[in-house]
Every structure is written in structure tokens, then in C-alpha cells.
Amino acid sequence: MVSGPVLWLVVVYLGSLALLITSAFFRLDDFTGKSTSEWTLANLDEAFTTGAYRTLVVRSVLIAAAATATCIAVALPVAFYISRLARPWAKRGLVVALTIPLWAGYLVKAYALRAIFEPGGANGGGFLNSVFGGSPGFGYTATIVTLAYLWFPYMLLPVYTGFERLPDSLLDASGDLGAGTLRTFRSVIFPLLIPSIAAGSIFTFSLSLGDYITVKVVGGTTQMIGNIIERTLLAPNQPLAAAFTLWPISIMVVYLVVMSRLGAFKNL
């Protein structure tokens, strides 16, 4: 009863993934741009052994990690404040205020951030440029900040929930035992929050890793793994694009396993 309809969708989704992975093993006809039925490992070879692509993947992982770290660094103090220090009647309002941007539209936010980071030039322009006289311009900084901005609510919500679940008694006990704020945070709060942080990071990391639109909008000439997948798919070279997707798939599977060890699934 329960499994029937669920299974159908699982088959559609997982089946599609399986099809995608197998399609990476077919050779592309050079001239027509279509997949043939010849088996080959050339696509996987190209995707996994070419130095330039490995650098690309490492770069994407680092950018995604940096964006995630930024989200964590901002979410922790903010969630702490809202959960423990804000007036009770204001708490929900503050959380809502920080999650409203989720509704503002991904593309619109990305282009707004582009207007902020625009380096301008001879004709001025750009928000940071106008206000501060300069801007980091389009590149890694802009990409990491934009990604962190876009996915911040996904980190804030689980971390906030995590803080709400922390029993006051633990914190009081820590204080009674003579620990200062920072020590309490490091030894009591943070370890208990790891599952929430892990849960939030699944969203921020995967959304950042696979993103190709943000990088095109604010990243200047930077490319991430999502760009190479899109570019290859539109080449058109579907088998090679499928081979490239094996990178984020394997990275995320490993990431999910690690996060699950950290307790993320008990805390989604």
C-alpha cells in the first residue's frame, strides 16, 4: 500500500539516474553529435583523467566548501541570538525575516548580486563600486558570497531548530562548572549541533557544487563542474556530459555517507 506509488517515482528517478550513468559508456558519433550503440570507456577516461577537469572539480569542491563554511559561520551566531537572546515574541519574526529571501527568486537575487559586485569601469556603475569606490569584481569572492547568500536559509533553519532543542540545563551546568561563553560553545553547544549543521550543509554544499547559473552571472571567467556538464550537453555530447555527472554524483554520495555518520539524517 505504502510502497506502490512511492516505488513508481523511485523507479522513475533512480531509473533515470541509472540510464544516465550507462549512457556515459556509449561512443558519440563525431559528425552527427548523436550517441551510437558502441561501448567505450573513452568518455570516462576523458572526464576523470584529464588534468584540467580534475582541477575544475577540486575548484568546485573548494568553492562549495567555502560557501558552506560561510553559511555556517553566519548561521551559528545568528541562530544562537534568535534562539537564546531574542525576545520570545520576536523569535519567529526574525526567523521569517531571514527566510523570506527564499521566495524572492533565485535568478533575480543572482542578478541583484551581480549589480552589487559589478566592477564598473570607465562608466562607473556597480553598487560596491559606487559606495566604496571599488569592488572585488566578478570571480571567486563574488561567487562564494553569492552562493552563501542564496543558500543561507537552508543552513539557518536546521541550526536554529538545533539550538531550540538544546536544553537550558546543559548550558547552565556548563556555566556552573566555570566555563566561559566561548568554552561552553566549543565543548557543549557545538558538538551537540553537529547533526544540525551536517543536515544544513547537505543542502548548501550540494546546491553550491552543482550550480552553474550563479557562476555565469557573478563568476566572471570562472567555471565550475555544473558549467562543464551544461556546456558538454549542449555541445551536443550527451555521453560525455553523463560521464561528467559522475563527478558530482560520487562526491555527493561520499558526502552523504559522511554526513549520515555525523547524524545529519536524524536531524533533517
Binding site: 541570538y81 534568535i82 537572546l85 523570506i100 527564499l102 535568478l107 533575480v108 549589480a115 556603475g125
Partner: protein, 264 residues
């Protein structure tokens, strides 16, 4: 817990600074919706209410809004039914491979949208299914289900099994227990998940790009296409502002629902 004055002050500052920074880009969008120019660049060139006053005439905007709303509602409904069933089934029954299923259930959101989009498109094209509304709905449903599932599972976990046992002890049939005990405690999580699922579907662009047919244009696609149409582009800021305003009460409601029934 006692916190020093500096700690309190820094935390408060960080929080309000964050809120300010979070709204900065949105404020820029609002300002640009009154911009007398057809490029999304700062600083604004002049003031005009032209975009706001003529929005009603832009047929493509209306169609895109309607398409997104339709697809969002259908995806949400599918997600509510299938997501709750999945959460309920997994929570209630122990079986071999349960962890694997939870793991797999997270994949649609954990894997980048481009992977899902490419995979689904590949399947649809290979089996000759026409790309159109249905293909987009299927794509959206996959990640919407995860969202509802997460919310419901989190709530079910917080529910004490004592209540169910007590209900059974008092002689209730399983469906009665569900209807009178479990469901009332669960439904706000389902609702919160449903709202979040709708929000995700409404704003989704990557999977949609790969699974939509030639005639389907959701709101995010309309926005994306307008970056090639300088004369329609400014309407994007107006539409975005309107959506944001409408979403205020909805976001509030979603947060209220996910806080759940007051714990005893």
C-alpha cells in the same frame, strides 16, 4: 546561561547586520523596478512607474505566473501524498534496507539539479515521451517529495510512541489511532512541507530548463528568457517584488506550522 555584555552585543549586532545584508539585494531589486532604463545595472538612471503601471499588459508574465502556479500546485499535491506516505511507512515499520531507502530519498535534493534535469530529460527523450507540462511536474515532484518527507519524518520522530500505544491500549483500531492521534499531530508538518515544496517548485529553474517542452514557460524560465529581451527585462524586478510581498504571510504561516503543536 550567562553571557558577557560583549557577547550579547556582538551577537545582536551580527544578527541585525546579517538581516540588513540579506535585504540589501532585495532592496536593490525594489529600487531597480522604478528604474528608467532597460538594463539591470546600478546606479539607477531615473525614476519611473512605467513598469508597475503597465505590468498588467504583459501577457507573457501572466502566462508564466499561471504556469508556475499550476505546476507548483500539482507537484505539491503529489509530494504531499507520496512524501507523507513514505515518511509514515518508513517511520512505522522496521525493515531491512530502511537506511538505504532514507538515503535514496534524499538524493533528489542532494544531487545537483543539473544531474536530475539531464537524467530525466535523457529518459523522456529516449522513451519518446513528449516534453511538456507533465515532464516538468515529474521533475519537480521528485524533489518536492523529499521536502515533505523531511518535514514529516522530523515531526514523527519527535512524537512520543507512548501516545500511539496508549491509543491502542484504549482499544482503537490502527486507522482510528491514525485519524485521531497521529494525524492531528502530523498535519502541520505536512502543511509546512507542502508550502516549502510549492516554494521550491515555484522558483526552480535548472530541472525545469531540461524537462520543459517548447511551449511551457514557468516564471523562472520567463525571467531567464527575458535576459535576452531588454524591453521586457525590467518587468522581472516588478514581478519579483510582488512575489516577495505575497510570500510574507505564506512564509510566516510555514514557520508557524513547522514549529508545530505546542509541546507539553
Amino acid at each position: 546561561m550567562q553571557l558577557s555584555r560583549t557577547s550579547r552585543w556582538s551577537l545582536r549586532t551580527i544578527t541585525y547586520l546579517t538581516i540588513g545584508l540579506v535585504y540589501l539585494p532585495l532592496a536593490i531589486v525594489l529600487v531597480l523596478s522604478f528604474n528608467d532604463s532597460n538594463a539591470l545595472v546600478w546606479p539607477p538612471r531615473g525614476f519611473t512607474t512605467h513598469w508597475w503601471s503597465t505590468l498588467a499588459d504583459v501577457e507573457s508574465a501572466r502566462e508564466a505566473l499561471a504556469t508556475s502556479a499550476r505546476i507548483g500546485l500539482v507537484a505539491m499535491l503529489i509530494a504531499v501524498v507520496l512524501g507523507s506516505l513514505l515518511a509514515f511507512g518508513l517511520q512505522r515499520f522496521e525493515f531491512f534496507g530502511k537506511n538505504a531507502v532514507s538515503f535514496l530519498a534524499v538524493l533528489p535534493i542532494a544531487l545537483p539539479g543539473i544531474v536530475t534535469g539531464v537524467a530525466l530529460r535523457n529518459t523522456f527523450v529516449r522513451f519518446g515521451w513528449d516534453l511538456g507540462y507533465l515532464s516538468v511536474v515529474v521533475g519537480h515532484a521528485t524533489f518536492c517529495i523529499v521536502v515533505v518527507y523531511n518535514n514529516v519524518v522530523a515531526r514523527l520522530r519527535r512524537m512520543s510512541p507512548n501516545l500511539r500505544e496508549a491509543s491502542a491500549d484504549l482499544g482503537a483500531q490502527p486507522w482510528q489511532t491514525f485519524r485521531y492521534v497521529t494525524w492531528p499531530l502530523m498535519r502541520s508538518a505536512v502543511a509546512a512541507g507542502a508550502i516549502l515544496a510549492f516554494a521550491l517548485s515555484f522558483d526552480e529553474v535548472v530541472v525545469t530548463t531540461f524537462t520543459a517542452g517548447a511551449g511551457v514557460s514557468t516564471l523562472p524560465q520567463w525571467i531567464l528568457n527575458n535576459f535576452s529581451r531588454p524591453n521586457v527585462l525590467p518587468y522581472v524586478t516588478v514581478v519579483a517584488t510582488i512575489v516577495m510581498i505575497i510570500s510574507l504571510p505564506i512564509a510566516w504561516l510555514a514557520q508557524r506550522l513547522s514549529d508545530g503543536p505546542r509541546e507539553r
